[in-house]
């Protein structure tokens, strides 16, 4: 039987084959070829698309270029969501590669945050980690870390260094044995067809009686519609990292193994494809 460590590795090295095409409306000097790339599921769009930008800039005039943004089938893609979440939420049942349209004009300010440099991503990433640790350990672990430890986490993500990242991240995943888990589970539930960005509430991994809560328990509380009752047609898929864990999976285990590097468990609830 494989070890739980392999799950961490699989999660980290998850890739989405992506085809970037330039938006038709962009003014180009010559026709832009599509650009194919394997995107890390746990990273952020604007962090890993330098090559895409370089590729398309070759066919464009500098004065036509504003801030780059991405769109999938009419939906602007929020760079501050992990790439895997964007894919699972919007394109989980589509044909691979994932086809993303690249824009250099008409930045949708109402939908997207600006991302002028990677330091913005770093700030966003670190604030997520801090928020998660506030939930897990009252911020005790992250506050005990030094500046260079924080840097190691970020550099690990930026350079796709699994060992480097986990050498530090494991500290964030520790908890007192007698407690049976974190204080609260840092999670976010995303819905495909909703105006609300995501659901995030306080939820403990262990019941007062000492029983471990499961993914099902969490959904029952947060999003009962996502659960298929007996005899019902399955309406929703509950997707984490492109897979559908069983509802009896313990939440604490999920949080330790299927969280993104930002230490949040990102759960996508998407409608079952009607084919």
């Amino acid at each position: 039987m494989a070890d739980d460590k392999d799950v961490l590795r699989d999660v980290w090295f998850g890739r989405i084959p992506t085809c970037f095409t330039l938006n038709q409306d962009e003014v180009t000097e010559r026709e832009a070829e599509a650009y194919y790339l394997l995107l890390p599921r746990v990273s952020y769009l604007t962090l890993v698309t330098d090559k895409v930008k370089k590729h398309f800039l070759k066919v464009m005039r500098a004065e036509d270029v504003e801030e780059m943004w991405f769109e999938y089938e009419g939906t602007p893609l929020k760079w501050h969501y992990p790439i895997g979440v964007l894919f699972d939420l919007h394109a989980s049942n589509s044909v691979l590669p994932w086809s993303i349209t690249v824009h250099f004009k008409n930045f949708p300010d109402q939908d997207l945050l600006h991302c002028p440099s990677s330091s913005v991503i770093e700030a966003h990433f670190m604030s997520s980690i801090k928020e998660a640790d506030a939930l897990k350990h009252k911020s005790q672990v992250v506050n005990d870390m030094q500046k260079k430890d924080h840097k190691q986490l970020w550099m690990g993500l930026q350079n796709d260094k699994f060992d480097q990242f986990w050498a530090m991240n494991r500290k964030l995943m520790e908890y007192p044995t007698e407690e049976g888990g974190f204080r609260y589970i840092p999670f976010r539930i995303y819905q495909a067809m909703s105006d609300r960005p995501f659901i995030q509430k306080l939820f403990r991994p262990v019941s007062p009686e000492g029983n471990a809560y499961t993914l099902g328990d969490l959904l029952k509380e947060m999003y009962p519609a996502a659960i298929t009752n007996d005899g019902e047609q399955k309406r929703y898929q509950v997707v984490i990292h492109g897979i559908e864990p069983l509802l009896e999976t313990p939440l604490q285990w999920l949080s330790e193994h299927l969280s993104h590097p930002d230490n949040f468990l990102h759960i996508c609830v998407v409608p079952t494809p009607s084919d």
Binding site: D6, D10, P17, L38, E209, E244, P245
Partner: protein
């Protein structure tokens, strides 16, 4: 930590045990009677039953309690009859003890009590001082008493032989009555307390048992030790007053409470005088309220006064047993008990619950808070009905059963109790006949707990307690239960007494005693929690995630491998500051910058380079090492710096590793873990070690494993020793033994047996370098020794003023280094002191009563008595320190081992039994039953009875077991089979193994002295590996080097030369996992000493400074 028990008695006199691993009180079903008080040690529990007799419950152990009776048959030669029983009138008895003064015919030996049985009949001991004697076991001398020899000479006028018979203690796990002494004990006992097991290790298992009689006298039980658990007799101890209660700590503290409320403290307790010499009086903590109860530990005294207030005595230790002052504590208790590690239990006066004092550590002996133990009793739900059954069964039978327990004549008192008990039971029996009432239980429970008769009625329907006429005479148990409580009294046991003397917990112990709320759900969750480890591995949800993840990889990655990666792999550098033991003279620590550069190698495998940047005469220079050339990373023992060594083949040859020191322990561990992962990555090694791995141990106790190519001997050019890659496994061991099916046993410095769990990592390897399952806490304890040296001068005798040329007056064993009590530190920062300095009497050569050894001068051979020629003396002080770490090891309780051996077989299936033999640290020979590849820990020990203690054991091909006794005799046990795992043991002769213990797995003795030195050598198949004391070209630190004998062939068993590997500082190696195929070699007869040997194991434990001759 082994499972141990907390004992308690409830107000009805029922005895319960709570396991440190358990979550409920288990009733001691065997206790046919009610008990008043119990007092526990690790190996047994003493109690006073309601018949006022003292009972002993010895915990069952795989190691049976065998007592050797011996007597001597003496004969004298006369010209007519030759040797005959006819002795001279001035001679000793025909049958006598060893001195000849005591008449001891065979039939004078009686079993001391009904708890014993004879193991066999008398037989003649044919072993004399480790050598087999002529038939008949006679030894000869000129006259009585004289020096005996095994050979008969012309002038041998007398002879004698020793007869042996064993008796065995059979009353295990049952309450056996201690025969009473009618003549000296006019009144029954009211309190007892046992302890004193830390005063001395000799004789083994010694206990001190103190008892108080109803008239207030104090008695001491003489002669309790392992082979005589019941003790010999009661001795009265004179008193300044009348005592009500007494408490004896694990070491030399004994306190008692007087009727008047003062306390008395026993002074002068020592290893020679466990009874102590005199009493000192300590006033009650409160001037107007007397003390009623006292409990002592190693360095603590707790007292309860009449108003139920709790007091802690400050400043108590063995030098000052009276302490210095009282501190008032919170809580109102009726009794307190102190167990091991000064942990404290108490029974609250308010709710009669057992409380545990949390946070008691050696630095904070008074602890932090009281925490109630809230676990349920077994069968609490069906409690009322079970109780009724018990009542009805006990009524008619109680008289009989109590007689069964103690065969000795029942005293009048006992009869009294029985009739009383029978009467008391009657109402219960009555209730039992009307089962309709058990739905709303209204059973009146009775017991005759001395003066503490108690009655309690369950008041589910709001019934009022009928306490007017039957309530307790003392302050016990008139207690109103909460009316709304759905389970009435069953929910809340009322306790009368608790004893933690047998309960090995400390402030770090994880106990699950405190969080139960609901009985049923608790038991449920316990079950699911205890099972959660293995089913989690196979749980559907887990399987689903693994399957889906690999499905995801197929879907999203496998078809798109030709796509470009978004993030390019680059070089990753980790930097730090360290100190480096520089390579050139004068050697010293210099500050350096340290960097590890990691990158992906040409074939996608990871690799790296280590850089050490230093300044050489203002010039910046660096030293580097390729990660794929590093053979081992070794933490080095250093009491002030956090140092480790990096070896490459070249540096192993030079015996000069790169030695580095990190600023903090944490930093060193981070670096070691990182470098280790890096080295393993570059060699493509991951996960647990293979079954063929070679295991070794450093003298520091670190565990290393190396996985050579299968069949080291098979290839014509085996991997040179210095190129073997070793990686560390978490944990701490002294000895490790393995075999080829992956069974690995270890023994710690404290003789605890450990079994390898199949994991990897642990210790400072955390996160990715460690497996998640199979890692457990491991502790080890060892002693640090220093010597106190003195020189004699004619004026003042022995003083600590030596000659100017003398060694330090406080030194290490060599005398070269000064080691005082104050400046001696534990071996490394990971170790912490757990005891005070104490004189060590167990030094080879013996000591006098104060621990001194004498000699003519330093350094010389020391002896344990003073002669006219002795001008210097020394004594050894020992202090224990403890290490707590983690590793893939699980304890095999409860017997402590000194040696273990596993058959190097290639078992055909995972259910085949694998022979495992061991020697306990007391010298018992043990055979482990039920060991298979699936259950490497086995099930139980089979104790193989022997006439003398053993020190070394080895099992070889065809399951031949060889063992060496402490007196040097070698024993051989053939035809060990699964059907007869123990086989017969034959003595094959005496070899002078006092300096060299050669261990043999084969058929012959191999006494050629290939090596002189401190070495451990193991031979397997045709592999010979040793730990050499010194090797050629060695520097001072290279003692303990792994060496491999090259070209050992069946016809050339001596081989050709040694190949030197990693070292120094190595202590132990086992290559038994590396056997390629099961040995199929036919064995010639025992007498053929020149025959080839296929399995040979050599081991030497003697320190010898000579260098190797080969």
């Amino acid at each position: 930590m082994p499972v141990s028990l907390l004992w308690a008695v409830d107000v009805y006199g029922r005895v319960y045990g709570l396991s440190t691993a358990g979550q409920q009180w288990d009733q001691c079903r065997d206790a046919q009677m009610e008990f008043k008080r119990v007092t526990a040690a690790q190996q047994c529990c003493w109690g006073i039953a309601c018949d006022n007799n003292i009972y002993l419950n010895v915990h069952a152990s795989d190691l049976s309690i065998r007592y050797q009776e011996e007597t001597y048959e003496n004969q004298r030669w006369n010209p007519v009859d030759g040797f005959s029983e006819r002795l001279l009138p001035s001679d000793r008895w025909q049958w006598s003890d060893v001195t000849g003064l005591q008449h001891q015919p065979l039939d004078s030996f009686q079993l001391p009590s009904s708890s014993w049985e004879w193991e066999g009949d008398w037989y003649v001991d044919e072993n004399f001082e480790g050598e087999p004697t002529e038939k008949g076991g006679w030894t000869y001398a000129i006259d009585f008493p004289a020096t005996y020899t095994k050979d008969k000479k012309w002038n041998s006028c007398v002879r004698r032989r020793r007869w042996l018979r064993y008796r065995k203690y059979k009353a295990m796990d049952t309450w056996a009555k201690i025969p009473s002494q009618h003549t000296t004990l006019p009144d029954p006992f009211s309190d007892i307390s046992c302890g004193g097991w830390e005063i001395s290790e000799e004789p083994r298992g010694r206990l001190c048992l103190w008892a108080v009689s109803l008239q207030g006298k104090v008695w001491f039980r003489e002669g309790i030790y392992h082979h005589n658990p019941e003790g010999a007799s009661w001795e009265e101890v004179l008193l300044p007053g009348e005592v009500v209660q007494i408490s004896c700590g694990p070491a030399d503290l004994v306190w008692a409470v007087l009727w008047e409320g003062q306390l008395i403290v026993r002074e002068g307790i020592s290893r020679d005088c466990p009874k102590g010499a005199s009493w000192a009086i300590v006033e009650s903590p409160s001037s107007d309220v007397g003390a009623t109860h006292v409990a002592v530990g190693n360095n603590v005294v707790w007292v309860v006064t009449k108003d139920n207030k709790v007091w802690f005595r400050r400043g108590v230790n063995s030098h000052n047993p009276c302490g210095s002052g009282w501190i008032s504590m919170v809580g109102e208790m009726i009794m307190i008990n102190v167990g091991q590690n000064d942990q404290v239990w108490a029974i609250s006066s308010e709710d009669r619950a057992v409380y545990f004092r949390q946070g008691v550590t050696s630095s904070e002996l008074s602890g932090k808070t009281w925490k109630a133990i809230t676990v349920p009793r077994d069968g609490d739900r069906s409690h009322s009905s079970a109780n009724l059954e018990k009542g009805s069964a006990d009524g008619p039978e109680s008289g009989k059963t109590s007689r069964d327990v103690g065969k000795a004549t029942p005293t009048v008192l006992e009869e009294d109790t029985i009739s009383h008990e029978g009467d008391a039971k009657a109402p219960c029996a009555g209730v039992a006949l009307s089962p309709s009432q058990s739905g709303s239980p209204l059973d009146t429970q009775w017991s005759n707990v001395d003066l503490e008769e108690a009655q309690s009625q369950q008041a589910q329907t709001g019934a009022v307690l009928d306490s007017a006429d039957t309530c307790s005479l003392s302050s016990v148990a008139t207690y109103t239960l909460a009316m709304e409580d759905p389970y009435g009294g069953d929910e809340h046991p009322l306790w009368a007494w608790v004893s933690g003397g047998g309960c090995s917990v400390d402030s770090h112990s994880q106990l699950s005693w405190f969080n139960s709320v609901n009985t049923a759900s608790l038991v449920q969750s316990v079950l699911s929690m205890s099972l959660s480890v293995s089913p989690a591995q196979t749980a559907a949800w887990r399987k689903q995630i693994f399957e889906q993840l690999s499905e995801r990889t197929r879907r999203e990655i496998d078809n798109f491998k030709h796509y470009e990666q978004a993030i390019e792999q680059s070089v990753w550098v980790k930097k730090g500051s360290m100190q480096w033991w520089r390579d050139w003279k004068p050697h010293k620590w210099i500050d350096v910058h340290f960097a590890l550069e990691q990158f992906s190698g040409p074939e996608g495998n990871k690799d790296g380079i280590l850089f050490i940047y230093y300044n050489y005469y203002e010039e910046k220079k660096y030293l580097h090492a390729f990660i794929n050339e590093v053979t081992i990373l070794v933490p080095v023992l250093n009491d002030s710096k956090h140092t480790f060594a990096i070896y490459t083949p070249e540096r192993t040859k030079q015996r000069w590793p790169i030695r580095l020191a990190a600023a903090t322990e944490l930093e060193m561990h981070d670096w070691l873990a990182l470098l280790s992962v890096s080295c393993c990555d570059s060699r493509g090694i991951q996960g647990p070690p293979a079954k063929q791995a070679i295991w070794s141990i450093t003298c520091k106790g670190d565990i290393f494993v190396s996985e050579p190519s299968p069949g080291l001997e098979a290839v014509p050019y085996p991997t040179p020793c210095d190129q073997m890659f070793w990686r560390q496994v978490g944990g701490h061991l002294h000895i490790v033994e393995c075999n080829s099916v992956g069974i690995v046993w270890g023994i710690g410095f404290d003789h605890t047996a450990w079994i390898y769990t199949g994991g990897y990592g642990g210790g400072f390897f955390q996160g990715l370098a460690s497996s998640t399952d199979n890692i457990y806490t491991q502790t080890d304890v060892k002693s640090v020794y220093i010597y106190e040296n003195q020189r004699w001068n004619p004026v003042t005798g022995y003083t600590n003023r030596g000659l100017p040329t003398d060694r330090y007056m406080w030194s290490d064993a060599s005398g070269l280094h000064e080691c005082t009590k104050a400046n001696t530190k534990p071996p490394s920062p990971q170790w912490t002191w757990v005891s005070e300095w104490a004189i060590d009497y167990s030094v080879s050569g013996g000591t006098d009563r104060e621990g001194w050894q004498y000699a003519a001068d330093f350094p010389a051979s020391y002896h344990g008595y003073k002669t006219m020629k002795d001008f210097v003396r020394r004594r050894r002080w020992a202090r224990k320190c403890k290490l707590t770490t983690t590793g893939p090891w699980q304890e095999v309780p409860p017997i402590a081992l000194s040696d273990v051996t596993i058959l190097p077989c290639a078992a055909q299936s995972t259910v085949d039994m694998v022979p495992v033999w061991a020697i306990s640290n007391k010298g018992d020979v043990l055979c482990r039953l039920g060991v298979t590849a699936l259950t490497p820990a086995g099930s139980s020990w089979l104790h193989v009875g022997t006439d003398q203690p053993f020190k070394s054991i080895s099992i070889g091909a065809a399951s031949q077991v060889w063992a060496i006794a402490r007196d040097g005799s070698a024993f051989y046990r053939g035809s060990v089979s699964p059907q007869n795992p123990a086989g017969p043991l034959d003595q094959v002769g005496h070899y002078d193994f006092t300096s060299h213990i050669y261990r043999h797995g084969g058929n012959t003795y191999h006494t050629a002295c290939l090596f002189v030195g401190d070495f451990v050598a193991f031979v397997l198949g045709l592999q010979v590996w040793i730990i050499a004391d010194k090797v050629q070209g060695s520097h001072s630190l290279s003692c303990g080097t792994v060496c491999h004998r090259l070209a050992v062939q069946p016809m050339q068993p001596k081989g050709q030369s040694w190949d030197y590997g990693i070292g120094g500082g190595w202590d132990h190696i086992t290559v038994r996992g590396n056997s390629v195929e099961p040995p199929h070699i036919r064995f010639p007869s025992l007498t053929d000493t020149s025959s080839p040997r296929s399995l040979l194991e050599v081991r030497n434990t003697e320190v010898d400074s000579s260098t190797s001759g080969c």
